[in-house]
């Protein structure tokens, strides 16, 4: 959240994105004011609510800006290539996430090694033992994000937010209010 107070981050996000927020978890505030638990995930989505990218956990303003620019520039590439169907977007962003995996985490996979893209109408949550096994192939949270979005490209946010928070950030999804121990 501190990254969002930076002028350059604010200007960029306000120019290229429409922003919102949502409570998906909780934490405990002790009597001494210490926080127990809690985390944050930043989603970059299409106007249809399809996830192009996620930044898992708190990051610096520079890092958030870098990731936002990557999303926006990759999106411009999709526009230039007239990738107007979900299938075309899936292929383009799968390749983009695979490229990041290779460049940033030295994990080289080709699209042919991955399962076939899911149907654009799929609604079931992307989670379970198979997904956990997939994510366990890499250690760093951001590498897990790239791997998840390479295999399950451009999913609806409702399908992946649970996996991002619980399997990548190790923070339980919860609708309960913040607990204050007085």
């Amino acid at each position: 959240v501190g990254a969002l107070a930076q002028k350059d981050v604010g200007e960029y996000l306000n120019k290229y994105f429409v922003s919102s927020y949502q409570k998906v978890s909780t934490f405990t505030l002790t009597a001494g004011g210490q926080k127990q638990g809690g985390n944050v995930a930043s989603y970059f989505c299409t106007p249809e609510g399809r996830v192009l990218h996620v930044v898992a956990g708190p990051v610096s303003g520079a890092k958030l800006l870098e990731e936002a620019r990557w999303v926006e520039e990759t999106w411009k590439l999709a526009e230039m290539q007239r990738a107007e169907s979900v299938g075309q977007l899936q292929s383009l962003f799968r390749a983009a996430h695979l490229e990041r995996l290779a460049k940033d985490y030295n994990l080289r996979l080709s699209a042919r090694q991955l399962p076939q893209q899911e149907s654009s109408s799929a609604v079931t949550p992307i989670r379970g033992p198979r997904v956990d096994a997939l994510l366990n192939r890499v250690a760093e949270p951001q590498a897990k994000v790239h791997l998840l979005l390479a295999v399950y490209s451009v999913p609806k946010i409702a399908r992946v937010y649970g996996t991002v928070f619980e399997s990548i950030l190790n923070q339980a999804i919860s609708t309960t209010p913040v607990v204050q121990n007085r």
């Binding site: 959240v1 002028k7 996000l13 290229y16 934490f27 210490q34 944050v40 930043s42 609510g49």
Partner: protein
């Protein structure tokens, strides 16, 4: 396969247009220290935050670190973009937030922009509860 809206050159130009709300701040913006004082004075929780941010070594809890970063930023120069002055939609950041992802998606479709959604633990509107 769901077809998506084609993106025209006109819509791309609209996406690159500067937001009109920045013109509201007037020709000569006030100096940052004055803004910071004004902003903190409007928030009843501010004294607690300042004390919290300066106490002890850096926290290991990532969320606590985030709150500390926000607080330090407020002490230095709150709302350096001058777009959030007196506007609760910024939630103490330099980013304009709509109150729900659904609204953001609708607005993004109109403006031919993408959507940025923050998933948080706690209440984002309250700096002490995220």
């Amino acid at each position: 396969v769901q077809p998506q809206k084609p993106v025209s050159a006109a819509s791309a130009a609209k996406r690159n247009a500067q937001p009109a709300k920045e013109a509201k701040s007037g020709p000569t913006p006030p100096p940052p220290p004055v803004l910071a004082v004004n902003h903190i004075a409007k928030e009843p929780r501010a004294p607690e935050q300042v004390e919290f941010s300066t106490a002890g070594p850096p926290a290991k809890d990532p969320v606590q670190s985030v709150v500390q970063q926000v607080t330090v930023k407020k002490e230095q120069s709150v709302c350096s973009t001058q777009t959030c002055k007196g506007n609760d939609n910024f939630c103490g950041t330099a980013v304009a937030f709509l109150p729900s992802p659904k609204l953001a998606e609708e607005e993004a479709a109109k403006q031919h922009k993408l959507v940025f959604v923050l998933h948080v633990s706690g209440n984002f509107e309250d700096p002490g509860f995220t």
